[in-house]
Symmetry: C2
Amino acid sequence: MKIKIAGHYTTKIGELWDQGLEDLLAEAVHGSLKNAQLAAEQIEAVFVASKAPGEFNHQLHLNALVSQMFVHYPPAIRVEGACTAGGLALVAAEQALAAKRYKTVMVIGAEKMTDQNALKTTEILSLAADQNQEAGSSFPGLYALLAQAHMQKYGTTREQLSAVAVKNHHQAMKNPQAHFHREFTLEQVSQSSLVADPLRLLDCSTISDGASAVILSTDSSGVEKWRQKPQILGYGHAQDSLSLAGRESLTALKATQKAGKQAYQQAKVKPKEIQIAEVHDCFTIAEIMAIEDLGWFEKGEGGEATLAGKTAEDGQVAVNLSGGLKAFGHPIGTTGIKQVAFLAEQLEQGNYELALAHNVGGSGATAVVHVLAKN
Amino acid sequence: MKIKIAGHYTTKIGELWDQGLEDLLAEAVHGSLKNAQLAAEQIEAVFVASKAPGEFNHQLHLNALVSQMFVHYPPAIRVEGACTAGGLALVAAEQALAAKRYKTVMVIGAEKMTDQNALKTTEILSLAADQNQEAGSSFPGLYALLAQAHMQKYGTTREQLSAVAVKNHHQAMKNPQAHFHREFTLEQVSQSSLVADPLRLLDCSTISDGASAVILSTDSSGVEKWRQKPQILGYGHAQDSLSLAGRESLTALKATQKAGKQAYQQAKVKPKEIQIAEVHDCFTIAEIMAIEDLGWFEKGEGGEATLAGKTAEDGQVAVNLSGGLKAFGHPIGTTGIKQVAFLAEQLEQGNYELALAHNVGGSGATAVVHVLAKN
């Protein structure tokens, strides 16, 4: 049974002062239906991803909120797993399709983060860390520890971290939906304000508003040109210790490695066959670890590979061509879904055959990896 | 493919001042493993239900928190859908099993509500209503409207509402895990403090702490005595308008009716074949509507049937033998799971052949119904 991406839509990502959570969700519902050329009634179930709509927008029960945007109130489930909410909602949807309960479903993610001030937002984000063992830590602080460990073990440099940000901001220039359309030099990144040593402001991803939806279908009769649509070849979903204290290693995310292996195995694809990937660059160090953990570069060589342009559009593998979490943006629950939506569009345009999406929760306790094919 | 309830465990429900959210989850993990006679490593995936752990306990990313209670970090997903979180987590787990991704999974729900004061708790609960159309309403207020409508249309009486509370408090006397072990007379319920006319204090379910887990398995080789374990025969999941303003009727929950029909159809069971049921009595009026909407009594006859004892232990159908949300308790994300855990135990004891669990979110926007068989 093939699961196809029948349609996709991502709103503009940014500080969207004139749109509320519900507006963003509605735009993604209707945008993805239009892209798939489907009527609302053809959606049999909905999987909604959002990290903290209660904390950000005083609205829980988001499954019902989205269901009522359809005429026929399809059954809907909300999934949360910190920044992996989007990836996990895709997984739940894929399992419902594989169970043959439904043939065509929508997976939609949204986060409206700018309803709260920066301090409150940082506090809300930190709820994804272990409140018993890591209370008081912010995510820049936790990822700074990972960066320190990587630099000490492998000699990863300040310049190599900056190269991730420079590349992703450069690539976002061609993505009209991206939060930021502004390029930076290595020096500008390296000299931006210090947040948590060694991470600086321009090492960090964004606080953004936005929504994204994909329509998944196993119904070759229901979707026009179904055979030509991009396909989900395989996925992996793995966990690791919630707190850094319980990790075997601070220089790799074991959950990413395990989820990657599962996805490659199901897809029957080797890591180096992947041509384009969206990886979870919540901080620059996270992209360096990801391109190693997903098998494209040896451990410790991710920084050098990035600086050498091996992950640029014309490199060995095009990583975060969208601009990534860094410059496309990181409206939390949206991220795992907009990665797949972006890759589906790239595959449809015909320049790539095999793609990978990589979504991480917290400091690496949850990881979801998807391998996609052109059709 | 049969889905069996291989094990189940529910903590004491109550104001558990000496147990935190993590303690409750750990107790349910280990309790259900012991009940199923399974080792932790045999659990291939975990589905976690909780309504508002971010708001109540400053902890999101609960899937990772639970996964790390196992040696092998099984993949885990958190599901939310207001008070239907538990029912929806069961649905997601059933879909993963039917997809043959896993053979044995744990579904666990927890809510630790007493970390916040009563005012804050009421505010957190109200996040499950429509914040655009119903902001400022509390759930007692919304269910009071439904009660008013039912009384006006069908002549349902104050005494009939009280009969639900009297029955459920009586039945909880035999349930050692129940929050309340105290009986009330019709008069005591009818004269308890007014909360939202006509609902009084003793019409309302509890604010409780607690956790519950069930282990579902399709693996006849992996679970001892698998063939004798209770079976999930069918489930339904339906939605309706989030706000009352969008409902076709205020005297029935259409989502319950639709979910019930789906569950009966999949189970190939007629409503009146059900012998024992746990229904979502968040308020007394909710039980009266449920026993009508699920097909056991005609619309408008639920109150009279209750007062006549037709839903008591020796009645036509034993409703909320556990004490229900009213007296067993309503730790939100736990509820849909503890209903199934309780029914599994009843089926194992051999007094009943067919059971039904009914879980509702908000004022009726989400409903999940399960039909269970003795084996």
